[in-house]
């Protein structure tokens, strides 16, 4: 059972990373314009700042 002491924190950490990245995408307005984003990959040479 000792292994639980490592495994549970690891599992928590991994899902926490997922949660944080979801928050990050949400705060970056990445879900605001799903249609536009789908089309943006077709742009040739958009310069990024």
């Amino acid at each position: 059972m000792d292994v639980l002491v490592y495994l549970i924190p690891i599992a928590l950490l991994l899902s926490f990373i997922g949660l944080i990245s979801f928050f990050w995408t949400l705060n970056n307005d990445q879900y605001d314009d799903l249609e536009g984003s789908a089309n943006r990959i077709l742009f040739d040479d958009e310069k990024t700042e």
Binding site: L4, L12, F23, L26, G36
Partner: protein
């Protein structure tokens, strides 16, 4: 590219001034959000963004395709924004001012719910992982220390998650309690809070009744329902504001023989205003100089423009088609007809919210009964068992197990599925309640032009020959008049060379074909002695002395008659309301078989008619497409408009359908009825589940494992049942 560096120089800008709507950012920049038209594909987006970004003053430029908004920010003079806006207009994209503040609210709500949902999902996954371990082993085997360790981990995950994700429910129930009534969120909040406190208490005392997983699962399912609900609801709120945007722009006012750009809201009675072709008329007024044609669709719904001459009255919101004219404002902008229509729409939108949804009706029965059962459980155990811990434990279990997971999902899942099903066949649901309301209507009110008919004049194929049509088409391509465009549409072959083309606003087009002078236009102007203008839509062609008449018809949609019959067969009362002349309206009404029709109805007349019916208790479906229908669409219980309607009308309608036939309306009604049936079934399932679960909980047979299984299975059954909406039976 040369850029204006001094803002004091004469402005190179065109008619519209957008920059007065710009917001000042920190460090001297400005940002502006405009609604943009004609954005269809990736290359449009790229072209617009590129055109803006090539100026070094531009800090950012972004087109949002889903909402059709353009947002850009720049540093330097505020008025530089207009220069940028005109760059975009030059590319061929229409821009309109649009307030930033309008949409903020529901977007923020949506995001908050998504965050709560994510946290609840995160916690649920981890708690389940731990709980399965707890359920599958006996304490004797696992050891009390391990069990306590797992329980405390659960506490650490669950408590913050519950506090974070439960906020929408906690705040909503607090608000309800403050106003001294209850809603579905009160038992939810109570169950979650009590379950968490009890589980914490059990954890401290090395107990086994830990309900954290159930509590978080409950939150997760309920948040899904809540999120779907707000997504379905969020979009229908823009209508009056979009119409109001017409009052927000600027107008060109002539003062001391100079042009000034004046915001429309500041226009006073008596001012002289210049209206360029293509512009919408800013205020009600009287034509003072010039002659032109005006698209009166705001008032009448008709697309064929009216001729206006000196002394004629024109109305705000109508569009000047052919040439510039000056008008004297007869009213301030707020008092104009458009202002009245906006006020009407705002009023009807407020009154609309009184609709009581099935879910709320269910909640009003459900909430008190659950509380009473829980209370009785507590008292019962207290009397017969004498220990208050056990009594409280069982009461809380009752609250958890009856928590309306299935009830919370019953409506939104069915609505979202019905919505996506309709969306695939080109029908867009814009408000979540629309289907529910549609299932309960008993009266259908139809508009004529653009709804029963296609709204576009079509050339009738008789009274002319091929070469005459060729000449007419060669002239017609030079005009934007709807009838000219109908002629161009009807002729697809080679055009003749024409010279010296001249358009006489309100009369027609004149040109030289070879050496012959040819005119295409009104009857009298083409030299026809017979002065009688008829009711028919016609255009004359004169070649020397030869006079040819082209007749047009606004054709009925193919299935107009069948659709009306369908409505009548299932017992709906059908009425035709139109702004067109009585004679034409009665003609059309007879053709499609509507006995109840009214012509020459202004937007305000239409609204009054609907209000009268509503007072009598009718539930009204309004189908219309014109600007003149917008207020009545928003006043009716539920509204449908074709996608050929102008944007304001589409914004106002609850449902928008594509295509040239009316069949989608029937389909929507069928789906709405089916959805209502399924929603009621879902409630039945939820009630059935509760009838089994409540006795178990009351008598203390429910363990955390049973609670978790019962809760998730009832939710799943409801979701699966909703999927029956996608079965083939509906076609």
């Amino acid at each position: 590219m040369k850029i204006l560096e001094n803002s004091d120089k004469e402005h190179p800008y065109k008619e519209d001034e957008f920059s007065i709507f710009a917001d000042q950012d920190a460090d001297d920049g400005y940002s502006l959000t405009l609604s943009i038209e004609n954005i269809h594909c990736a290359s449009c987006v790229q072209r617009v963004e590129k055109a803006l970004k090539e100026h070094k003053e531009v800090l950012s430029a972004r087109v949002n395709m889903s909402t059709e908004r353009l947002t850009y920010s720049w540093k330097g003079a505020q008025s530089f924004g207009d220069f940028l806006a005109n760059k975009v207009i030059d590319l061929g994209y229409g821009l309109k001012p649009f307030g930033n503040s309008i949409e903020g609210n529901s977007k923020d709500q949506e995001k908050t719910l998504l965050r709560c949902l994510a946290v609840a999902g995160f916690a649920m996954g981890n708690l389940m992982m731990i709980s399965i371990g707890l359920w599958s082993e006996e304490v004797e085997f696992m050891g009390v220390a391990t069990q306590d360790f797992l329980h405390w981990i659960s506490v650490i995950i669950a408590l913050p998650a519950i506090i974070y994700s439960g906020r929408p429910f906690f705040f909503s129930s607090l608000n309800a309690l403050k106003k001294r009534h209850t809603n579905m969120d009160v038992p939810i909040s109570l169950a979650i809070i009590l379950a968490s406190m009890m589980s914490l208490f059990e954890t401290i005392n090395h107990g086994e009744h830990i309900y954290f997983d159930s509590a978080v699962m409950l939150l997760f399912f309920l948040l899904i329902g809540r999120y779907l609900d707000i997504r379905a609801k969020g979009k229908a709120k823009e209508s009056a504001k979009a119409l109001l945007a017409k009052l927000h722009g600027t107008a060109t006012v002539l003062m001391d023989s100079k042009r000034h750009n004046v915001p429309i809201r500041d226009i006073k009675e008596g001012m002289t205003i210049l209206v360029a072709p293509g512009e919408s008329i800013p205020v009600d007024g009287v034509v003072f100089k010039g002659i032109s044609e005006v698209d009166m669709s705001l008032i009448t719904g008709e697309t064929i423009p009216n001729l206006v001459n000196k002394g004629d009255a024109v109305f705000a919101g109508t569009i000047n088609i052919s040439s510039a004219f000056q008008l004297t404002a007869s009213k301030a902008s707020q008092e104009s007809l458009l202002g009245e229509i906006v006020a009407l729409m705002e009023r009807s939108e407020r009154s609309k919210s009184r609709f009581v949804r099935i879910a709320d009706k269910a909640a009003s029965i459900y909430t008190p009964s659950v509380h009473i059962i829980a209370l009785l459980t507590f008292l019962g155990w207290l009397v017969f068992d004498q220990t208050w811990q056990l009594a409280l434990l069982n009461a809380v279990t009752v609250l958890i197990i009856t928590c309306p997971c299935a009830l919370g999902l019953a409506v939104p899942v069915a609505q979202v599925l019905a919505g996506s099903r309709l969306f695939k066949s080109g029908i867009l649901l814009k408000s979540g309640d629309a289907l529910e309301k549609l299932a309960g209507i008993d009266t259908v009110i139809l508009d004529k032009t653009g709804t029963l008919t296609l709204g576009k004049p079509e050339l009738i194929e008789k009274g002319y020959n091929e070469s005459q049509l060729q000449i007419a088409a060669s002239l017609a391509v030079n005009s934007k008049h709807p009838l000219s465009q109908a002629i161009s549409m009807a002729y697809s072959r080679e055009l003749l060379d024409v010279n010296n083309v001249e358009e006489f606003p309100g009369f027609g087009v004149q040109a030289l074909v070879g050496d012959k002078e040819v005119r295409l236009g009104r009857r009298q102007w083409c030299g026809n002695e017979n002065n009688q203008e008829t009711d028919e839509i016609e255009l004359w062609l004169s070649i020397n002395n030869e006079k040819i008449c082209f007749k047009f018809i606004d054709a009925l949609r193919k299935d107009a008659k069948n659709t009306v019959q369908y409505f009548q067969n299932i017992g709906y009362k059908v009425t035709l309301l139109s702004g067109d002349s009585n004679k034409i309206v009665s003609n059309i009404a007879k053709k499609v078989g509507i006995a109840d029709y009214y012509g020459e109805a202004s937007p305000i007349d239409k609204c009054e008619y609907i209000e009268k019916l509503k007072k009598k208790g009718s539930k009204i479906l309004m189908v219309g497409d014109g600007l003149n229908d917008a207020p009545s669409l928003s006043l009716a219980d539920v509204s449908i408009s074709p996608s050929s309607a102008i944007d304001i009308t589409q914004n106002t309608a609850d449902i928008v359908f594509q295509g040239k036939v009316l069949r989608p309306i029937i389909k929507t009604i069928v789906v709405a009825k089916k959805a209502k049936k399924i929603i009621i079934e879902n409630f039945m399932i939820a009630i059935f589940y509760n009838m089994i679960a409540i006795p178990l909980a009351v008598f203390g047979y429910v363990t955390p494992l049973i609670a978790a299984i019962a809760m998730s299975s009832s939710s799943l059954v409801v979701i699966l049942n909703s999927f029956r909406l996608n079965s083939k039976g509906i076609e």
